[in-house]
């Protein structure tokens, strides 16, 4: 393998990994706050893609469609939390997971009812035409995905470190009772965490749509996002980001070295290895137990 191809694979792996990182981030945020693993997260990517499709059909420019899609994702997340999740919050964890799974299936089936499984395409103003930089072919669409994910991670880092709501989320993730005693409106925090998570999912949808087209299966990334989150550490936002990028790179390079069949196997082998050797992932921490 030449250096040019190795670098080319690096770009390809990072762009695939950025999408995994986005969905993994969206999984980790509500999990940190409420302990609920949202199996419908992939379908929020789908919601984002179809929202962008509808808004584009109205003739809106991409720079209006982009924030509008994220806002739609946010609102849908807030509504689902308020209407469904909050009402079943006291149910066993397994019930909650099944509930999110069911929400995902409902969303996907509802989309199929109207749009069926047709393949749709939307444009974005960035060119599809690749350009060469130091011998490496670069697709502007990839740069856009990598740039958006990196910017999002920076914004989230600032949000959790500096903003009152971010601090409240961190407090709630440590102890809901403690946070409540400090005057934090825990339910509002949980609802916001869902909203942020689904908004990130919607962002993933609008970023993916021009690259692979839109159909109801566009959000079928949940398993890969779970692997990314486990590699990074399920309660760590930087972990989800790094885990996603690592998974993308791992897939791309393992495919190049070991062929396409092993490419699909290696991420799940890595998942098992991580669970055995480092169950809290690269950045996760084992919960402290007071003796």
């Amino acid at each position: 393998m030449t250096i040019a191809i190795a670098l080319q694979l690096l770009i390809s792996g990072l762009s695939v990994g950025s999408i995994y990182a986005l969905v993994a981030l969206a999984l980790v945020i509500p999990f940190k706050a409420s302990g609920i693993l949202n199996f419908a997260q992939g379908e929020f990517v789908t919601v984002g893609a179809y929202s962008a499709l509808v808004l584009t059909a109205f003739g809106l420019p991409y720079w209006i469609v982009l924030p509008s899609t994220i806002s739609i994702g946010l609102i849908i997340g807030l509504v689902i939390e308020r209407a469904i999740i909050r009402r079943i919050m006291s149910a066993p964890e397994f019930t909650l997971v099944i509930a999110t799974f069911a929400i995902g299936l409902i969303i996907k089936s509802a989309i199929r009812l109207y749009w069926q499984d047709n393949l749709f395409a939307i444009e974005n103003p960035l060119p599809f035409k690749t350009f060469k930089f130091s011998g490496i072919v670069i697709n502007p669409q990839y740069l856009w995905v990598i740039g958006c994910t990196t910017t999002l991670v920076c914004c989230l880092a600032w949000f959790f470190k500096c903003s009152p709501m971010g601090k409240a989320m961190r407090a709630v993730s440590q102890s809901q009772d403690g946070a409540r005693l400090m005057g934090i409106h825990v339910e509002r925090v949980l609802m916001t965490s869902w909203g942020i998570s689904t908004a990130i999912g919607a962002l993933g949808g609008i970023l993916l749509a021009p690259i692979i087209g839109i159909n109801p299966e566009i959000g079928g990334l949940i398993l890969k996002a779970l692997v990314a989150a486990v590699i990074g550490g399920f309660t760590s936002l930087p972990g989800a980001f790094v885990g996603g990028l690592l998974l993308g790179l791992l897939e791309t390079y393992s495919g190049a070295f070991f062929g396409s069949t092993l490419k699909n196997l290696i991420p799940f082998v890595m998942l098992v290895v991580f669970l055995l050797v480092k169950p809290y992932g690269l950045f996760g921490k084992a919960p402290l137990v007071r003796i």
């Binding site: 499984d117 047709n118 393949l119 395409a121 670069i138 087209g213 190049a256 396409s260 699909n264």
Partner: protein
Amino acid sequence: MKHQFFGRVIAALAISLLSNFANAQGVTKDEILIGGVGPITGPAAYIGLGGRDGLAMAIKEINAQGGINGRKIKLIFEDDGHSPSKALGAVKKLIDQDKAFMIFAAGGSNSTVGFIDYMKEQQKVAYVSFASAPAVTFPFNTYMFRGATTEVARYGELYSEFIADGLKAKKVAIMNGREEYPKNEGNALAKTLQDIYKVDVVARVEFNIGDKDFTPQLLDVKKSGAQVVAFFGNPAEAAIAMRQARELGIEQKFFVGATMVDKGFTNVAKENAEGATGFSLVPFLPGTQNAALQAWETKWKAEYPNLPAGRPNVFDIMAYTDMYVLAQAIKTAGADLNTQTLIANLEKIKDFSPSPLASPITFSTKHHIGNLNLTVMEVKNGEWQPIGWKPTRPSEILKRYE
């Protein structure tokens, strides 16, 4: 009194038996029930959705003109999910439960192969519009007909002649999906390239349906030094593979299977599709500047106003025109419509083209491969356009039936 009673019972039984004899399953004096099957969910939905909608539109038009010999056509369409087992389940439901007269198969090869044996057992006609799997028509069997598409062996003949003589390639790489249609087309091309044209297949790589990364396969292709890359899969897969090929510095020409010679592919692949070649199963693709096609597209858009830019696709056209081929045979079968009369009248179809949109269809008592004619096209300025290349080597596939 007693004699009268028995007389009436015998008369009633006789009438009942006679009426059963006269009316085949799914055929009444005013209706013919056709079971449709194809993938309307999943990665191959672009095939079944086009098939279902084209078929439904033709049936609506036929019924609006009074039906065929006074009988209206009723369609029940089932999803096969592009899976052989689901397709078998759907066909069993249509034949056993809904009591359909026959099956119109609007699915790909992967699902269609699932119910071929069942249709033979049931001795019911299956009219296959899209599937190229050899088992549909070879070895010959009475009940299976292949309409607008052709048999995979014919694809092999045409593809190899075009790649060897038209594109003048000496080294070819083949990328194909692991399911029925792409695998069969890859095999047919490899065999004819090597056996007839002595062209080297320098790389043969496979992928899974729905894959979104083709880097490993493309690296093998790049290493092989192939002059042409032949790709058999679905449009979404081809679009990603061609984009990644350009990124990896693979500048060779792509030749794609017939299912990708459609707007659905160029819409997603965009600039990366430029220069790709492939064979079309219909003379004009949707979007072409042709009066007959444009009139048909206007009708189609009035029927389905909310569907995406890639529709109507080639499958809409093929199912639509194939329904008219079927209607012709049903019409000539007359009032006594049953499986045997339908087969006999389908076998009389010769060079029948219900509209300029369709390639002419011919069946005989020796073979049921309706179409052997395909048109070579190339993507120019984002559109598939005919390039005028014609094959010179006569087809040998019909010799197998002699």
